[in-house]
């Protein structure tokens, strides 16, 4: 279907897909860049997946990511310590910043019964403009062309292995931990049961309110970590206006396609990373703009979600007709 649109813009679909493949997967270089591109998506995706699977509507990944990024970016400039202490410390602080940002929402829910659905959403705007303020006034790097903080100290740059940033490995390990946590631990079990049926969990003796608070802090931490790794591991190593891009919302989208399963979220995040990275190459090679990738993503999301329900619906329909035939002929 997307081929049709490429054709309409007078480009060869084959060439476009080839460029997508070459730059997304074709060589170790492009593959590792794709994995790097997937890093924040894995974390924001898992954050959304865990929240949704627990019945907590945390849509604040964007804001939590920004808060994580800004705290890491600022501390990275001023913090003075050894390299191997500094990097984990900065990463964790960024995560904690995201958690605290979500913690505000948790407190509002707990004490004023505000629905986290609306408050996380609104806190995104607050975070967006608060960080822009910080980089435009107090922490502005006068030498930069766009509003941005100074570069963090060079020794805090995350190392890479042949072009693959350690940040990706960190994200993968954290995501794997999340999978284990949700599947095996007592809290994880309670979270999931809350997502299935909150009354069931409540009557069964799970403390709903403290669990919701925990989920918000936990998923806030993951998004904050995503922002932190963007600074430590990415290419810019500073907080620039627009650094959050669409990672928060892409994460929400990926979680929905993945049906809130952590493992599937990781896989879809990788796939979207490949698309994103391939899209940049596609822009070099052909005259198709990289915005086309956004379009392609939308098509994929709609197709996956629609196919899933269509298969279920028609599958049941056909099954029922087969059964009817059996029953009628028997009688």
């Amino acid at each position: 279907m997307s081929s049709v649109f490429i054709k309409m813009q007078r480009n060869s679909p084959l060439e476009v897909y080839k460029a997508l493949y070459d730059y997304g997967l074709g060589s170790w270089y492009s593959f590792s860049s794709s994995l790097n591109a997937a890093t924040p998506l894995i974390l924001t995706g898992v954050s959304a997946a865990i929240a949704f699977a627990s019945g907590v509507v945390n849509l604040g990944q964007h804001g939590q990511l920004l808060m994580g990024a800004i705290v890491t970016a600022i501390l990275g400039v001023y913090l003075d310590t050894w390299r191997w202490v500094g990097i984990p410390l900065l990463a964790v602080t960024g995560g904690v910043a995201g958690a605290l940002w979500a913690g505000i929402v948790a407190a509002m829910r707990r004490f004023y019964r505000m629905d986290e659905f609306i408050s996380t959403l609104m806190m995104n705007f607050v975070a967006e403009y608060f960080t822009i303020y910080l980089v435009t006034y107090p922490f502005l790097d006068k030498k930069a062309y766009v509003p941005a903080t100074k570069l963090i100290k060079r020794l805090y740059f995350m190392p890479d292995i042949n072009g693959l940033s350690v940040a990706f490995l960190v994200a993968l390990v954290v995501a794997a931990f999340c999978h284990w946590y949700m599947r095996t631990t007592k809290r994880g079990y309670e979270f999931r049961m809350m997502g299935y049926n909150v009354n069931f969990a409540k009557i069964g003796g799970c403390s709903i309110e403290s669990n919701v608070t925990l989920v918000l802090l936990y998923t806030g931490f993951l998004s904050g970590l995503a922002g932190s790794l963007l600074i430590l591991g990415g290419t810019q190593h500073r907080f620039m206006k627009g650094i959050g891009a669409n990672f928060g919302w892409d994460g929400v989208m990926i979680a929905i396609i993945a049906n809130n399963s952590v493992i599937e979220t990781i896989l879809y995040a990788l796939f979207f990373g490949i698309l994103k990275n391939g899209g940049i190459g596609m822009e070099f090679e052909t005259s198709v703009p990289s915005e086309f990738i956004v379009f392609l993503q939308a098509v994929i999301v709609l197709t996956v979600v629609a196919t899933r329900s269509a298969i279920e619906f028609y599958g049941q329909r056909i099954k029922s007709l087969v059964k009817l035939r059996k029953v009628v002929t028997k009688g």
């Binding site: 095996t184 049926n197 009354n199 069931f200 009557i203 003796g205 029922s320 087969v322 059964k323 009817l324």
Partner: protein, 498 residues
């Protein structure tokens, strides 16, 4: 109705080749267990459900009833189990809703009121057309539903389990009105699973079992036990054996419990005092909505009483969290879908809820011992005869009876002294009901203290050792079931005696 088939996706056969013929002016009962297809058949007749195959003939002509409004046009009306009334409207407003005859967009209220009152009087319904529906009793609301159908000039009236929510006295009253309708030439289809009622009122009876028609019989030629046998497919024993009554120490004590509604400041619980001892079943009877629900919620801890004390095993739990209380109480909630099960989680996950709070289900500081969990879950499925494929299956694919067994298995294996049962057999077929009754008796005989809340008076009379009757949030009387009959209890429920 000829050769009606209905298959619900994916492969649930609700009806297979059912024939039903109704004669003008007869009362025809359709009986069968839950899930036998009674409701589906009626919904097809009323146009709410499309049949997968089959025809409907009305006065010899083939008709295609695809919507309820088409059914109404043809003179077919239905009173559902859940009433479809607007509580804030008056009786006559509810009656004309959807059938307003207007002049230039205005309703001539005075005229309409007279019309509605005329119908009410003609059939002997004792209700005021000006009363607000929310102020009426359940029985009166049901009458409003019937009047509503009569206003639509129906000839055929379907009553879906009309007596399920009524006391014995109210049921008798309803039967008189039904007979009055019959005298005036209306045809009535009466759905019920209470066999003595069915035998009392109907001319003919059609028995359904597992989506198939077993027979249509004249009601004067058949007995209750023969009917029951046809419904279930084997003979049923209504006999339950109990050990002699010998209660031990007090397990639950409720003192002076008060609760006021925040909105209307009506007393929901008014000075409730209850005690339950080990080795006895204490029943609570009452017309639904008289405080039973609030009582259960107060014991479990989802609502806070304004005043009073709740003691379990001599421990004051009044200020405890739900989590802490659940270490003392086994609880079967009334609504399986609402709170008792997570239908989309696995059976395993459903079975270990609340058990997961116990120390021996834990591994390390944070984890659940899944090996142990799996092991005890499969023990539960064996012990409570839960029919399932594997533990990963979702409860939503199980039958209602098996779903309830999952709930009961989980709660009864908790092993706490107090067992709180809120409508434990609602909506279950006869076999499952019987099975769960047996388990309840077994629990009593193993010296658990059981508090049983039920809307089914027969169940209460059969199981309880002692019985409280609740009305308007008060305990109005304390009875021993072996010393009184159903009608006396019914009188207390209605407030006819004090």
């Amino acid at each position: 109705m000829v050769k009606i088939f209905k298959v619900y996706p994916p492969d649930v056969v609700a009806l297979s080749g059912v024939d039903l013929s109704l004669e003008r002016g007869e009362i025809h009962s359709v009986v069968g267990e839950n899930g036998a297809g009674k409701s589906t058949l009626m919904r097809i007749l009323y146009g709410m459900v499309k049949p997968s195959a089959g025809f409907i003939f009305l006065d010899g002509k083939k008709v295609n009833i695809n919507t309820p409004s088409k059914a109404m046009e043809l003179g077919i009306g239905m009173v559902h189990q859940e009433f479809m009334l607007v509580p804030s409207f008056t009786v006559y407003e509810n009656v004309i809703l959807g059938q307003e005859r207007t002049v230039a967009g205005f309703i001539n209220k005075a005229e309409v009121k007279v019309q509605v009152q005329k119908i009410i009087d003609a059939y002997g319904f004792d209700i005021d057309s000006n009363a607000q529906v929310s102020q009426l009793s359940v029985a009166a609301q049901q009458k409003v539903e019937i009047v509503k159908q009569l206003y639509r000039k129906i000839e055929l009236l379907i009553l879906d389990e009309p007596t399920a929510v009524l006391t014995p006295q109210e049921s008798d009253e309803l039967f008189e009105r039904i007979l009055e309708l019959k005298r005036r030439g209306k045809t009535i289809v009466f759905i019920s699973h209470k066999l003595d009622e069915v035998l009392k009122i109907s001319d003919r009876i059609t028995v359904l079992r597992k989506g198939e028609k077993i027979a249509t019989v004249q009601s004067k030629n058949i007995t209750a036990s023969e009917l029951a046998k046809m419904m279930v497919g084997k003979s049923v024993t209504f006999q339950i054996d109990k050990k002699p009554y010998n209660p031990k120490e007090e397990v639950l004590l409720i003192k002076n419990l008060h609760l006021r509604s925040k909105r209307t400041s009506k007393a929901l619980l008014d000075d409730v005092e209850i005690s339950v001892r080990a080795g006895e079943i204490v029943g609570i009877a009452g017309v639904e909505g008289n405080g039973q629900y609030e009582l259960v919620q107060a014991i479990v801890g989802t609502i806070k009483p304004d005043k009073g004390k709740i003691l379990v095993n001599n421990v004051d739990v009044t200020t405890m969290s739900i989590r802490d209380r659940r270490r003392l109480i086994c609880y079967v909630p009334q609504d399986r879908k609402y709170a008792a099960l997570a239908l989309k989680a696995s059976i395993l996950e459903n079975l270990i809820m609340t058990h997961h709070l116990k120390r021996d289900f834990q591994k390390g500081l944070f984890s659940i011992n899944w090996k142990k969990a799996r092991q005890s879950a499969s023990e539960m499925t064996k012990r409570f005869e839960i029919v399932h494929r594997n533990l990963e299956e979702q409860p939503q694919v199980l039958s209602g009876g098996n779903q309830q067994k999952v709930v009961v298995a989980r709660e009864f294996s908790l092993g706490h002294n107090l067992i709180l049962l809120d409508q434990p057999t609602r909506g279950l077929d006869i076999a499952s009901t019987e099975y769960i009754h047996k388990l309840i008796i077994l629990m009593r005989d193993s010296l658990k203290a059981i508090l049983l809340i039920s809307a089914d008076l027969d169940e209460l009379m059969e199981l309880s050792d002692r019985l409280y009757v609740m009305r308007n949030g008060r305990i109005v009387v304390h009875l021993v079931p072996t010393e009184v009959d159903v009608h006396t209890v019914g009188k207390y429920m209605l407030g006819a005696v004090d």
